[in-house]
Amino acid sequence: MKRMETDVVVVGGGATGTGVIRDCALRGMACVMIEKNDLASGTTGRNHGLLHSGARYAVNDPESAAECISENRILKRIARHCVEDTGGLFVTLPDDDTEYHKRLVKGCRAVGIDYEEIDVSAALKIEPNLNSGVLTAMKVPDGTIDPFRLAASNVLDAKEHGAEIRTHTEMVRCIISGDRVVGVLCRDNLNGELFEIYSKIVINASGVWGRRICETAGVPLTMYPSKGSLVIIDYRVNNVVINCCRKPFDGDIIVPGDTVSLIGTTSKKIDYDRIEELDVDDDEIEVLLAGGEKLIPNVSRTRVLRAYSGVRPLVSRSGDVDGRDITRGIVLIDHEAENGVKGFITVTGGKLMTYRLMAEWAVDLACEKLRVDVPCTTHERPLPGSETPSNRPVPHYFDGISKSVLGSAHYRHGERMDHIFSKDKKSYGLVCECEMVTAGEVEYALKNLCVKDMIDLRRRTRLGMGPCQGELCSYRTAGLFNDLGAADEQTAIRMLKDFFEERWKGVKPVLWGDTLREIEFTYWIYQGLFGLGGVPDEDEPI
């Protein structure tokens, strides 16, 4: 069996894992990250992408709120191309008690969140489609964050500082020697090959999957997974984050996210053995749309693109078991101190917002154990793509490229867009027409951003995430994978099929209106015209 050696193995390629691997690499440690699926394919990519100001937690969980506002300021600096400083509003709905507004003001003041109480008329000026019957309004420094870009940028920086990234590589178990975890046994999910990575420390950053990782090291970890579902609206119905001013509940927030808006979020306790199932139930969709409509009345007239859900990795260390009440605080476990198992650290709990801080704490602990005396710099050092301290205008390289193409690439890759376009027409020819993804961007992602298949590519580029959900871009992309030597013909066709299955999963729960017409048309092309359904699955012989 193949074996490798390194200082630190990081398990999990979500926000936390990619944050940890970057931090390790920046501190000069040899490190390898393994992820069983793709970057940000778990909980990281399955939330509303809210860049919290902390106001949502200011009343009930001031500790989390303080972490949020501090990380909010850091991310606006170091990850400019992953965040959008949209600003946010808290509004009291006509049927709600304005008492909560006062408590929120008090909470924000206590934590140090820069809020501003404004007139309802001023709020309507900021967001003209807002429910005009709201009773109170306040401005908070909320924003949006793209978790896919964030994870990819962290990994890109880690790679550029010597880290090794292995996606589609699953951890089978910890390798134990005496009272110490000395490495991990892995399986490459693309070819089934088993191999070992020996290391001085294993950092378990696998979120809700962390319990299984711990079990293989013989340590217990009690998790209370809570499912949160969201729906995606076809376009931006709002340009600032809109929150209901009351205790968090289902369907109380609309977040603009790149070209779409998201209505969030439900909270349902689920059994640990169901964390992979992630179906969105009809009642959740009903609740979300009804909630969204209370904030922006015309939401019901717009197309719902998809519904999806993620599982929050809630860890109860105090005995609380209800999803909304368990702290969203960071849980860092030194298993040597807690369970007598050396060389093994778990970092979990927390949230997307605090991924960097979680990584900092975990890597601080690892450094202490490895006697590495290098301080953390991730709060100062910008991510690749956001290098220049102030916002650089979108460059215009040469005539012939449209602003919509350049601007979209700039949104996604920041200054790294310089590596995408060349005068070769192919580089700026469109592949995805909804989200303006060019062949050059596909090639760049394939070379630099750990892309193994079309679903991975979607997370790096927004390919197939627009209104047509892959109708026009997917066959072109499958062709490009083949042209660029990233897949042989059979593999490219299978990728195409897998891509549609994955898109279909999110569309299925919202199958009405224009979404239904769209998917019928797509079905007609790919099944009726191309016969894609006749392509055998991976495990069937061709």
Binding site: E127, P128, N129, D234, Y235, R236, V237, N239, P256, D258, T259, I296, N298, R301, T302, R303, V394, G400, S402, K403, S404, G407, S408, L430, E433, C434, M436, G466, P467, C468, E471, L472, D514, R517, E518, F521
Partner: protein, 402 residues
């Protein structure tokens, strides 16, 4: 901010038939076509207005995309609105001159022979191209001395004697460039026992829309609808127009694109052939003399958009001796002021080329079309005389001779 009441782009299922149907995208590879310029990038412009593509200027607003769309997306409206809403407001003298047809008409008709002479000079044409970006290759429509309204003034008492009357919205073209058409409309309607009334009117706004001056177009629209409403309320007369694009604006662009409510008079406004073919259907059909001509008929895009072609063909089918050769449905290219612009002239001619060829193949005695700018384009680009269908009917009724 988006108007959530008007979100037809949301219904686009990306079938791309509009782009296949777009005459500009067919000949100009720089124009990405209506799907991308309209519904696709509208989502991006809502996110960030800076993502407005310069290539939107190539849209001629012919509306053929909207004819093709199976999802009822108002593609051309989205594009025209975006040009105005998201682009920095810069005053362009060329666009001002081209779009203010009534102002230019008033100025030019007072010295028509001189103006026509000057605009015909190659020196003037070169200067207009150099300083105004108006194509020197475009032949300018000639202005007539005086206005149609002044001529009508002398006829007014005679018209008032009719018991049945219609309101004639003549538009800029008849008033400044083609009195003959206006006079023929009056004589034709009179022959059919209908008197003609004029009401105060301004340019319908089509050239303003095409040149991204939506506030200007809205102002005219408000004026016209108010004027029509006042007259209709008093007289209960129908309103007819001989310009397919003016009619399209009065009926459809006003509520759809300009958000001006015309519901009180919508059913009273008719393109003239629709009005006449109904009159004929009610009977009795007047006595019609044979017009022994082979005519190529070109359907203007805007008439197609509002489903009016059938009425013109229906009306013409009453005329004995007239042989109609129906041209394939396509754009002639000029699209109002579009074909006058330096950057669009070649596109306009490339778009029209197929039509010009088909007209030549038909070897007609005459070409018939409902739109004044189609007429300019066909007369400039082919050797055939081009007339409004009313001129043929008038000939058949004996009130006009070629």
């Amino acid at each position: 901010m988006i108007n959530l009441e008007n979100i037809s782009f949301d219904h686009c299922i990306k079938c791309t038939v509009c782009t296949i149907y777009c005459p500009v995208a067919r000949v100009n590879p720089i124009y990405p076509g209506p799907k991308q310029s309209g519904p696709d990038t509208e989502r991006l412009r809502i996110k960030n207005p800076d993502l407005l593509d310069e290539s939107l200027k190539y849209c001629s607003n012919c509306k053929r995309c909207e004819i093709a769309c199976p999802s009822d997306v108002r593609i051309a409206d989205i594009i025209q609105t975006a040009k105005w809403k998201y682009s920095p407001k810069r005053f362009k003298i060329r666009d001002f001159l081209l779009s203010h047809t009534d102002l230019m008409g008033t100025l030019s008709t007072s010295a028509a022979p001189v103006v026509n002479r000057i605009t015909g000079l190659s020196l003037t044409k070169s200067a207009m191209e150099a300083f105004l970006n108006i194509s020197s290759k475009r032949r300018f429509p000639a202005y007539e001395p005086g206005t149609f309204r002044r001529w009508y003034g002398r006829m007014k008492s005679e018209q008032e004697a009719f018991s049945e009357k219609v309101i004639y919205y003549h538009g800029c073209y008849v008033n400044y460039n083609d009195h003959e058409l206006g006079k023929t409309v009056v004589r034709t309607l009179n022959k059919l026992g209908v008197g003609v009334t004029l009401i105060p009117e301004k340019c319908c706004g089509v050239p303003l829309i095409a040149n991204a001056d939506l506030p200007g177009a809205r102002k005219n629209a408000r004026y016209n609808i108010q004027s029509i409403e006042t007259a209709v309320e008093k007289t209960h007369c129908s309103v007819v127009s001989t310009s397919s694009s003016c009619t399209f604006a009065l009926k459809h662009e006003y509520p759809g694109l300009l958000e001006i409510d015309n519901s009180a008079v919508f059913n009273k406004i008719h393109y003239i052939t629709a009005y006449l073919s109904r009159l004929f259907a009610q009977g009795p059909v007047p006595e019609l003399q044979p017009v022994n001509l082979t005519a190529a008929y070109h359907a203007p895009c805007h008439l197609e958009r509002m489903g009016g072609v059938i009425h013109t063909l229906d009306l013409l089918s009453n005329i004995p001796g007239l042989k109609i050769v129906l041209m394939h449905s396509e754009c002639c290219g000029i699209s109002g002021t579009y074909g006058f612009k330096k950057e669009c002239y070649d596109i306009a001619q490339d778009v029209g080329e197929e039509l010009f060829k088909r007209i030549a193949d038909a070897a007609p005695d005459i070409v018939i079309t409902d739109c004044e700018t189609c007429k300019w384009q066909i007369e400039m680009s082919t050797p055939f005389r081009t007339v409004h269908p009313i001129m043929i009917l008038a000939q058949s009724l004996g009130v006009y001779t070629f």
